[in-house]
Amino acid sequence: MTDTNSLTMDKPVEHSLLDNGAQHVIGKGLDRIDGPKKVTGTATYGAEFHPDNCAQGFLVRAPFACGKLTGIHSDAAKAMPGVIDVIVDTDRFARNPAQGGETEAPKQGVSKVAYFGEPLALVVAETFEQARDAAQAVTFDFVPEPGRYDFDKYRDQTDIPADGAAPAQHSQGDLEQAMRDAEVVIDEVWTTPSQNSAAMEPHVTVAHWDGDTLTVHGSYQMVAYQQQSLADALGLKREQVHMISPYVGGGFGSKLGISSECIAAAIAAKQTGRPVKVVMTRQNVFDATVRRSNTHQRIRLAADREGRLSGIGHDTITSNLDGEDFFEPAGLATHFLYGGENREVNHAIVRLNRVLSGSMRAPGEAAGMLALECAMDELAEKLGIDPIELRKRNDPDKDPEKGVPYSSRKLTQCLDEGATKFGWDKRNPKPAAVREGEWLIGIGMAAAARPNMVMPGQARVSLTPEGRAVVQTDMTDIGTGTYTILAQIAGELLGLPIDRVDVELGDSDNPPGPGSGGSWGAGSSGSTVYLACETLREKIAKAMGCDVGDLTLKDGQAIAANRSVELGSLVGDGLSAIGKIEPGETGENTNQAGYGAHFAEVAVNVTTGEVRLRRMLGVFAAGRILNEKTARSQCLGGMTFGIGAALTEELVHDGNNGKLVNRDLAEYHLPVNADVPQLEVMFLEERDPYANPLQAKGIGELGISGAGAAVANAIYNATGKRVRDYPLTLDKLLDALPAL
């Protein structure tokens, strides 16, 4: 029997076993263990599973925005060469993907079309080319219905959603009064556009049936959840769905829930009796998966002459489809980043017929801190106080809403370290004052903050007679470095070099992990491995006849009482243990978050308004860093998402039908290599015993939080123009440039 070591995070773990290890692999910037496979093209992503006799599916999507679907004509398509069938199942096809963390089916039923490009049918053919061409021959009858497409038109018709990642509404004290009494106030509106995660690998599912058991290979971030969601959509038991996702070509939230291709592939495979592969086109990913909502954010700050906040308000309006509770929680960090006794943090939804909105990297902060951190910059300028000093004066000693202590918080240290390293003292606070040739130069900064979470999960760790460790969980590695950090944790605790640790991920036959989302992956999944290893250490100690406290594990040897024994010889036929973690009271009685500070220097062309980011620094404190190389990469990625949000990324919805105008990678502008200079990342030493046994906090989303605001503040410093409508494209700067 496999022992299970469970931990509910009700108390801090003051002494982490990771600090007593003798292997010294934890924290080190080791190369990714999956690296050689990824750089040689031998890592297999979803679409690369090709079962025998596999047919190809191509989604057919609504060429209209809103209406009742009354007929689907597929005879012409069915008569085309190679076409096996056209799958129509208007009851079970998904209207839109499931939201992150959902275990139930996404909204099903496509007979009432809710947005342009909604998937309605699936052509199945022998080859991709045949399926793609036949899809053009499928036509629809529909009765058009009026839709709601224009955000500004319906902005005052909102509903208040159920609480999500943050409460939808929070009110404390009297902000209106605080604004009236304040010596200095800010009251401005910022807008951010819809965005797309644009993971490089499109959504994909390869489905095949064996009797009543369905196997799906694909690209999924949260296997245990998505497995249940798919089972629910098809009326199956969870055990009847085997979900496999060993490599995920990026997710950033867009693959947290199953999407249309997954259900369609499963239905088609059942109906045709063949394995079916459905790979979304890039246009499909844009039109019919998930976007970050556009936002309209009003920020109010009330302060005295010294810059001390007496009030803070953050009212956000987002958009989503009918029946979807998710809202972009833009006020997430506003709840706890700065003090001030009078507070309003509210969210509302405008119902629009646009593609689903849901989680995209740092839902909340990624949009919200673009507003809050620019508002702080504006307040600093109004007060004549340095923006770093203003933030330090409002760095509270406890959560200003719940009154609970911070588990760990190094905001001020991040600000100070960053200021020194970046040369903040050389910044001219007067805007539009520094010019080099045809370029206006500006420097800006912003704070970073992102809550830390634990999600329930499990992992099995086994020791083999050959002296190897095997880690098994359905946790995923979406580029975050999961394979490597789990190997490092097991290696540290079992005394094995990481080339003697095998990590098997993304298979629902293995214990259910927390999945990759919300920056909880490393802390939560890593803790499950930690807990399994804790039990294995006790078993090894027993086999050595010593107290576990006297046991040293290093390089595959168990060492105690002057005896050194090969680990493999102590495990009989093999030893296994399961580690299991649950969130607990520390999540309630402390406020847990990672913190940081971003610094950016931009050059703005005096003639064209073109913005070039010249250098950027992020300083972060996120508890224990498990692998300094992969953690740094996570921050580089987050910061670059911030650069994109500040400068280029914007989904344009057609006001007449909600259709995306720029639904490919040529027209939706991700940052490219030439847009991103050699970014710098710095970590501060920190441990957070309240977070988890690793004492580590999430890092995947901290890097984006506030990053774009630092760029925007630098643009203000360069040009003297406050642009509050993201992205800050050159057309919005032209009127601020010097006369030619």
């Binding site: 750089v39 093209g41 991709f128 993971a199 490089m200 580089l636 490919d664």
Partner: protein, 166 residues
């Protein structure tokens, strides 16, 4: 039709609509080259055709009967990495890994272009030797998107290999 890929001969019946990328991925089992957009916008499908980098999704398989195609599988294997592959691992020039084969094939093609003195948009001069500054590397690699944004690390990896070659 006959194809020469990574020095090996392949024979395949090819639909005239089949892109070189789909020939590799769907017909020949060479899945190292990735499909990110199928429109030549992301670069994940980059391979070398007769030594030059090309978006394999933007060219039809039937156009390549006599060509020498090199894919990521032809550059190195996990046990015997090409210097660029090793440098990408060392510098963490990727995260999810999906754009990576395209980045590496592109880098191989790009280093050759630079060696031949081909200028880029950021080159100071149109003739003479190319000095692969960070700006040159970034510019020349901007046809390969990386949403994980390993760009600084990709530049580090390529700079290192370019320096070894020099």
């Amino acid at each position: 039709m006959h194809f020469t890929i990574n020095g090996q001969k392949y024979e395949a019946d090819v639909d005239v609509r089949t892109s070189l990328l789909d020939l590799l991925r769907e017909h020949l089992g060479l899945t190292g080259s990735k499909k990110g957009c199928d429109h030549g916008q992301c670069g994940a499908c980059t391979v070398l055709v007769n030594g030059r980098r090309i978006n394999s999704c933007l060219t039809l398989a039937v156009m390549h009967e006599d060509d020498e195609v090199t894919t990521i599988e032809g550059l190195g294997t996990p046990d015997k990495l090409h210097p660029l592959q090793a440098a990408f691992v060392k510098h963490d020039g990727f995260q999810c890994g999906y754009c990576t084969p395209g980045q590496i094939c592109s880098a191989a093609g790009m280093l050759d272009e630079a060696k031949k003195g081909w200028p880029s948009h950021v080159s100071e001069r149109l003739e003479g030797e190319v000095e692969l500054t960070d700006a040159e590397i970034s510019e020349r690699m901007s046809g390969n998107l990386c949403r994980c944004s390993a760009y600084p690390n990709i530049v580090d990896a390529i700079r290192e290999v370019a320096g070894e070659d020099a």
